[in-house]
């Protein structure tokens, strides 16, 4: 199991969030999630400018095996989507925390870190699943 980037926040739904300098938040799925899904073949992205509610459906990632919803870990407005995923969804497999990012959104409210997981706490979630 590869090490989790220490500068990210996580959710128990296997998503990660990175707070950018401009106040936006970049979101993707974790290495554990891409591993469980298998080779990705299609990503359905939201429109830029679209508002998403916390826990609402934000994107769909489809692997050879199955389709999986990506839920918005926080509410906000989509400011960017990773267009490269249209032709190369396997970027998520290859680099889930980098080139495989999915969306960037501008949070509607201040982020309540209490509802998100630190790297250590997320690692514990993954460890439990691997047992």
């Amino acid at each position: 199991m590869s090490e989790l980037p220490g500068d990210l926040l996580y959710t128990k739904d296997h998503e990660w969030l990175r707070r950018e300098d401009d106040g936006s938040v970049t979101i993707g799925i974790t290495d554990h999630a891409q591993g469980a899904l298998g080779d990705l073949v299609y990503v359905e992205l939201p429109e830029v400018g679209q508002d998403v509610e916390e826990a609402g459906e934000m994107a769909v990632v489809e692997s050879v095996k199955a389709a999986s919803d990506v839920y918005a870990p926080i509410g906000g407005s989509i400011v960017a989507v990773n267009e490269d995923l249209a032709d190369d969804p396997e970027k998520i497999n290859a680099d889930p925390y980098g080139d495989g990012w999915i969306v960037r959104l501008l949070p509607a409210d201040a982020i309540d870190e209490g509802t998100l997981l630190s790297p250590d706490n997320y690692q514990a979630v993954v460890d439990e699943l691997d047992d």
Binding site: G38, V41, Y42, V60, E62, V64, A66, A67
Partner: protein, 368 residues
């Protein structure tokens, strides 16, 4: 924890992701399902299919028994070792299972049936066999490895007993032979050339290691499913089951109507369906929009009716999504599929999608 095949430790050693499949702990993939898929289309891959059930039948009246039990006619098997694909039907014409039957001698046949249907298959076969005094012996002590791909036989040949190697290489498609302790058949479930090899459980790991050393890549059930979908080979439980007749699952070609006097289980029901004029279509779909077709999605044909995807997924060879679907009768070549509330465009295409490494359909054709 499920049942384990004799190759379970070999899978773990090769880095398999293990999943439950019909009560068995089986490899889903060993890293990348897509790479395994391409390996079979372009080179050679191997699958542990030891979870499948091998049943040997023997007795003086075994041939008459199989002519009654199976919708295809074992009378078509004229040479020893010849194999036949067939459905085993219930009295309503529904499919209890699909299977391969091998003609080993006038009093010996071998069936290979699905893993998930093992219990009901054995119970059904035993029940029907009684009147024919046919002995039904499950060969659970045998393991089975499918080696598939354009160079599969060439790479696997050194792993076959030297004395029988030449004969194994000379096997024509859909023939098998006993090669020492192994039974080698030129069959498969991928649309590629290759062998399915049955060996005693104790020899399974050595065969696997030999194939690995020969350059054959281990492949999981994931790739097995995308390969068989591209080859448009039916999957029991998805494309047909006990409520679906072979006529509604694209398996008309496996039903032997001649001779008319042959009474097989389900025949009367099938004849009724045939005479009723019910002409459901079982077709291939090619997705023209972006997305992925999945099992059970609704297919809409404007002005005609609705059908359902029975097997859908992504074709690694074509880089597009494909599906098999049960559709209403009618003359049409386009439809739409309801994918999470959006209607996506599909074209009805002739199957198989892929055969012997080559895409069989024109994926570029657009609106005329």
């Amino acid at each position: 924890m499920g049942s384990k095949t004799p190759l379970f430790d070999s899978h773990k050693a090769a880095g398999a992701r293990i999943v439950d499949f019909g009560g068995w702990d089986m490899p889903l993939h060993y890293g990348s399902q897509k790479e395994e898929h391409h390996c079979v289309r372009q080179n050679a891959g191997m699958f542990d299919v030891s979870h499948m059930t091998i049943v040997d039948l023997s007795g003086d009246r075994v041939r008459a028994f199989l002519q009654y039990l199976l919708a295809n006619d074992v009378a078509r098997l004229e040479d020893y070792g010849k194999a036949l694909y067939t459905c085993m039907l219930n009295a309503d014409g529904g499919v209890i299972d699909d299977l391969i039957v091998y003609y080993l001698s006038d009093s010996d046949y071998r069936l290979i049936v699905n893993a998930a249907t093992r219990d009901k298959d054995l119970a059904w076969i035993r029940e029907q066999a009684e009147a024919y005094e046919v002995q039904v012996v499950e060969r659970s002590e045998l393991a089975m490895v499918a080696v598939q791909g354009p160079v599969a036989r060439e790479l696997a040949a050194p792993c076959i007993d030297a004395e029988h190697r030449e004969a194994a290489l000379a096997l024509k498609p859909f023939y098998g032979l006993q090669a020492g302790d192994a039974f080698v058949a030129r069959t498969g479930y991928t649309g590629e050339d290759g062998w399915e090899i049955c060996v005693p459980a104790a020899d399974a790991a050595a065969l696997w290691d030999c194939l690995m050393a020969a350059g054959v890549s281990p492949c999981g059930l994931g790739a097995r499913d995308t390969l068989r979908l591209e080859a448009a080979m039916n999957l029991y439980g998805s494309d047909m089951d006990e409520t679906i007749s072979p006529l509604a699952a694209g398996l008309n070609w496996t039903v032997a109507w001649q001779p008319e006097g042959r009474d097989f289980i389900g025949r009367t029901a099938l004849e009724t369906i045939r005479e009723s004029g019910d002409r459901q279509r079982f077709v291939g779909l090619l997705l023209e929009d972006r997305g992925v077709l999945r099992d059970h999605q609704r297919v809409v044909v404007d002005g005609i009716g609705e059908g359902e995807i029975t097997s859908g997924g992504f074709s690694p060879t074509m880089g597009k999504s494909i599906a098999l679907a049960r559709m209403p009768a009618g003359d049409y070549d386009r439809a739409q599929v309801d994918v999470r509330g959006k209607l996506l465009n599909v074209r009805i295409v002739k199957t198989p999608f892929v055969r012997n490494g080559q895409v069989q359909i024109d994926t570029q054709e657009k609106d005329q």
